[in-house]
Structure formats: C-alpha cells, structure tokens
C-alpha cells in the first residue's frame, strides 16, 4: 500500500498554463492586497500575527512535505526550527549581524547539520525514521539547555527588531523598529518568504529532481537499480527541508524577540507533520492549506472556552474520516485519484 502510485494534480502539471498563471496572480492579489484591505476595513489587526504564523509554519511544513515526498515521515522539523532560531539569535545579539543576513545563514546552518545527521539516519525507513526524528527534537531541546552559547535555560531575550537594508542609499527594507506597524511588515516579509519557498518547492517537484524523488517514494530499490543515486537524493531533499525549517525558526525569533529551549518542542514537530497530512500529501500546496486550517482553526475556536480542544480534535477526526487523503483531495477529478 505504501508503494501505491498516485496522481498529484497540482504536482504533476508540467509548465505554466494560462489558468495556473491566473490562479497565482489571484493568490498574490489576495495575500498582498485583499487581506490587508480586509484587515484595515474590519480592524482585526490581530489577524496579521495569526497569518504571519501560518505563513512561517507553512514554510516549515513545506520542508516536512518534501521529506514525505521521498517517502520519509519527518517528525523532527521542530529541531531545525529551534536550531535556526538560535543561530539567528546568537548572530544578532553576539556578533551584531543584520537579521536579514542571519536568515539564510540559519537555513544554511540547519542544512549543514541535517547532512551530518541525515547521512546515518536517512538509511532508516517508515516508523523507524519517524521515531528517530522525533527523538531528534528532544535532543535539540536538551542541547539548547546544555550549551553555553545558547544561554541555557535562561534563553536569549531582548533581541532587537530587524534593521533596515539599503543599497546605494535606496531603502530596500525599512528598519522595523521605526515602523508604525511592525506587525504588518512582518506579515509582508513572512508571506513573501512563504511564496518564495513554495515556488522553490513547486520547481523542485516539477524538475528532474522531483521525478527522481517520486521514484524514491514508490520503490527505493528499483530506482537504485536503474542508476538513481538514492543516497545523494535523500540527503539533498532532507537538507532543503531542514533549510526551510531553519528559516522559519529564525523568522519567528525576530517576532517574539526572544528564544528559549522550549520555543520549538516535540509538539511543534508533530504539528508540522499534521499540517502536511491534513492538507494532503499528494499536493504541493497541501501543507500551506493544512497549516491555515489547523492553526487558524484553533484561534477561531477560542470562543468555545473549555470545549476548544474537544471541538478542535473532533473536527480533526471528522475531517480525516471524510477526507482521509487530505483536504485537497476534494479537488481530485473523479476516479483520477484512485
């Protein structure tokens, strides 16, 4: 059953067709124009942070989705988000590096350690890989508690807001500390980052690399036997995945302006995975939708008081019963999915 091939409409499409271009344009218009207008009109300024969180978490989830794509259940993204957060926090507070520079550095650092960790553990499959990554999150937390550079249990606090970036006197990014509404700026930054990540993900899936990954998901021995360098492919996918995790973590830290060993824990790792499941493993944009539904859903349910968790989990179970292949499987053409 694990090896059953399946069509992925959004993933399998080749090239940009006209309707797709329109869809992308509509999405861009929605997130960059419609959402801010809606917020300005209704005065729901708190949505900015919620949507920023959704954007950042869906970046992490995109990484998890990519490891699913090579047939690995990744419950360790929290570890990389935490590592990325610490890299950014340490560089900003101790070396005075600009936040915007620490963002890719955090990602690269995570990609690097993920290669070291991935070399041995990517040989594992199924639940074994899942469990090792789960333990990895706990290891990351305990490491953060034990290392001197992370300031141990006391965490790193009072991290300054992202500074400005200007090239030849032209301000590309304004200094967040001077802004009237930094929440809005964070929203735009996070959404921009998210779009970038999903474009990259979409490109990967539709490239030769993506096809090879899919062959891995379906039958690893077979792809190895026809000359696919499976080890390299796995490491590559895992490193990209961890890069995303690190970036998401670093960005979060700039918003909370603090980081603790408990900033990303096992629960976050599990959540990243759940976002992917809920959206649908066969769809590139599944993790984005899954994050939106699960994260935003919890916030909206806070009106239910003490029944919040009950309704939330009840809805999750119901959704799974109705759409076991993820929400996006709703849009599968009839018979095309089986």
């Amino acid at each position: 059953m694990q090896n059953q091939p399946h069509a992925a409409p959004l993933a399998a499409g080749k090239g940009l067709t006209m309707p797709k271009m329109l869809g992308v344009a509509a999405f861009l218009a929605f997130v960059f124009a419609a959402v801010p207008m809606f917020i300005a009109a209704t005065g729901r300024w708190d949505f900015y942070y919620t949507l920023t969180s959704v954007a950042l978490l869906s970046i992490g989830a995109a990484g998890v989705w990519l490891t699913f794509y090579i047939g690995r259940i990744n419950i360790g993204q929290g570890a990389y988000a935490l590592a990325g957060g610490y890299v950014s926090a340490v560089l900003i507070t101790q070396a005075g590096v600009s936040f915007w520079l620490t963002l890719p550095l955090a990602g690269l650092f995570c990609a690097l350690i993920s290669v070291l960790i991935g070399l041995p553990i990517l040989r594992l499959r199924g639940v074994y890989f899942a469990m090792v990554t789960l333990v990895l999150t706990e290891v990351a937390r305990l490491t953060a508690l034990a290392l001197p550079v992370t300031n141990g249990a006391k965490g790193i606090t009072s991290i300054p807001l992202p500074g400005g970036v200007s090239v030849f006197g032209i301000t590309l990014i304004p200094d967040f500390a001077t802004l009237q509404n930094p929440r809005q700026a964070f929203y735009f930054a996070a959404i921009g980052l998210m779009i970038l990540v999903y474009v990259i993900l979409w490109r990967i899936v539709n490239s030769r690399l993506g096809h090879l990954c899919r062959s891995l998901q379906q039958n690893e021995e077979l792809s190895a036997s026809i000359g696919v360098n499976t080890a390299w492919l796995r490491i590559m996918a895992y490193a990209i995945s961890s890069f995303f995790g690190g970036v998401a973590g670093a960005m979060f830290v700039s918003i909370s302006q603090s980081i603790y060993p408990s900033s990303f824990v096992v629960q976050d790792s599990v959540n990243f995975m759940l976002y992917c499941f809920l959206g649908g493993l066969g769809y590139v944009f599944g993790p984005m939708l899954g994050t939106l539904l699960l994260y935003f859903g919890w916030d909206l349910l806070s009106v239910a008081g003490k029944y919040q968790l009950l309704i939330y989990s009840g809805a999750m179970i119901t959704l799974m019963l109705v759409l076991p292949n993820g929400v996006l499987s709703l849009f599968d053409r009839k018979g095309g999915g089986k």
Partner: protein, 289 residues
C-alpha cells in the same frame, strides 16, 4: 549497584507492558498509535474513580480499567481506523487520525477528570530493605510482579489461544492470513482492543504508585515509541526487550551520569539515535518495519 538494577527491573517491567500494547497494534494494522499514552492515562483515571471515589477494592478498579479501555479500543478500531485505512492512499495517513484521537482523549479526560494530579492510596504498606543494598517498597514489588505476570499471560495467550495464533498470522502476512480463512476485520478489532486494554491496565497499576494526570499521555506515547524502536517495531519479544533496556538505561544513566547533571537525558537519547542508525531495525525487528 543492586539498587540500580532493582530500579531498572521495576521500570523495565512497567515500560515493557506499555510497549506491548503499542507493538501489538502496530504489528496488526501498521498503525502508530499516538493515542496510546492517552489510553494509559484514561485507564489510570478509571481506576482512580472506581477505587478512590467509589471506594471499591483495587482489583475492581483494575478490571474496570481493562474493560473500559478494551471496549473503547474496539470502537476506535471499528469506527475510526478501519474506514480510514480502507480509503487512504498512504498508510501514514492514520497518524493524523491517531493524533486527533490523542487530542480528543486529552480533551475528554480534562473535562471528565479535571486538571489535577490524582492517586489512590497505597495497596500495601511497608518497605523492603535488604541491608540498605536494595530498598524497595512492597507496593512497588507487588506492581512489578503483577506487570511481569501480565506480560507472561499475554505471551501465553498469543502463543496458545486461537485468537492469539490468528493475530500472529495476521501480523506476519495480512493477505496470506486472509487467504487462509482468518477473519481479518474481527481479529484487527480484537487486537486493537487488547492493545488499548494493556495500556489501560498499566495506567491502573501505576495509579497506585506514580498517580496519574492528564499531561502524562503524550510523553508516555513517545517513551513507548522509543521502546519498540529499540526492540524492533511489531515484534513482541522486541517490545519486552526494549522496555527493559530503556528502564535499565534510565536507571544506570541517572546514577552514572548524575554528576554531569543536565546532560543525562541528552546522552541517553543520543545513544539511542546512534544505536538505531547502526541497527535500523532494532534488536529483533523486521528490517524496514
């Protein structure tokens, strides 16, 4: 030294019993039951209600927990896992369902039993003290013995009963078992009910010693995952071995590494990761579980 081994054995016995239920469910249905820890907590609370609130003897609480959890497990398999497994394209999808059930049980436990730590009075009083070399309260010895007794009973059941044999056949090869006339649906349901029952039994046993609170669910699941990974997923002897090994590791690790403080658990977990990287299928598991 004797004390460390005694502690390890006691921990190991309770861990092994937790791991058994989880591995049974995994071997039959390839489902990693994220809600296993919550079932354990629920068992503890049922026993607490029967013993501490209703004033019944401990053994009644034990039986009540086993029954409630068995029924719950059966229902969960029949109405939740079975339809989802049938319709989903990838086995892993059941993880979301299991996680949803875990959250749901957490919510129900909070609403029904409250947020406080609960415990029932000691079953037997007194402390066994062998010249200060081994100190072990009698109730711990009793619970440890009961746990080992249950493990033995479980093994005998799986080995010699008709249902046990059918489940082992199912675990080995689902399709072949079906072709040989094993009622797959029926035994999946029985297996899930048994797995849940085991979780409930451990919860009920331990409520007399460690007590129970709603937060124990998630971490217990993760510990149980670790144990079945050490021993090999889906293998009964592996779960028992995994339970005892983890118990021993904690007991020895905490003593040997106590002067290094904060890194004790880091070392334990890192060792586990390295072990699994070297031996991916655990001690006795089928490769690629």
């Amino acid at each position: 030294m004797e004390q460390i081994i005694a502690n390890g054995l006691y921990l190991g016995a309770q861990y092994a019993l937790i791991a058994l239920g989880l591995t049974l469910i995994f071997s039959l249905m390839n489902v990693l039951n994220f809600a296993h820890g919550q079932m354990y907590v629920l068992g503890g609370f049922v026993c607490y209600t029967v013993v501490a609130q209703l004033g019944m003897p401990f053994i009644v609480g034990l039986v009540a927990s086993a029954l409630v959890l068995a029924v719950l497990g059966g229902l969960i398999e029949r109405f939740l896992f079975r339809p989802v497994i049938r319709r989903s394209k990838r086995d892993e999808s059941t993880m979301l369902l299991a996680a949803g059930i875990a959250f749901f049980l957490d919510a129900v436990i909070l609403l029904l039993f409250g947020e406080k730590q609960r415990g029932v009075p000691k079953v037997v009083n007194g402390v066994f003290n062998w010249d200060f070399r081994i100190i072990m309260p009698y109730d711990r010895i009793l619970i440890g013995m009961l746990a080992i007794g249950l493990i033995v009973a479980f093994i005998l059941f799986m080995q010699y009963s008709k249902a046990g044999r059918a489940m082992r056949a199912l675990a080995q090869d689902r399709v072949a078992a079906q072709l040989m006339g094993v009622d797959v649906d029926r035994y999946s349901m029985i297996g899930f009910a048994m797995g849940a029952m085991l979780a409930g039994l451990v919860g009920a046993l331990l409520v007399t010693i460690t007590g129970v609170n709603l937060g124990m669910g998630g971490p217990t699941s993760i510990k149980a995952f670790l144990m079945i990974m050490i021993g090999g997923a889906g293998v009964i002897s592996g779960a028992i071995a995994g339970g005892f090994i983890l118990g021993m590791m904690e007991s020895v690790g905490l003593s040997v590494l106590s002067s290094y403080g904060d890194v004790t658990y880091l070392v334990i977990f890192a060792t586990l990761m390295i072990f699994l990287a070297i031996r991916p299928q655990g001690l006795m598991g089928k490769p690629w579980g």
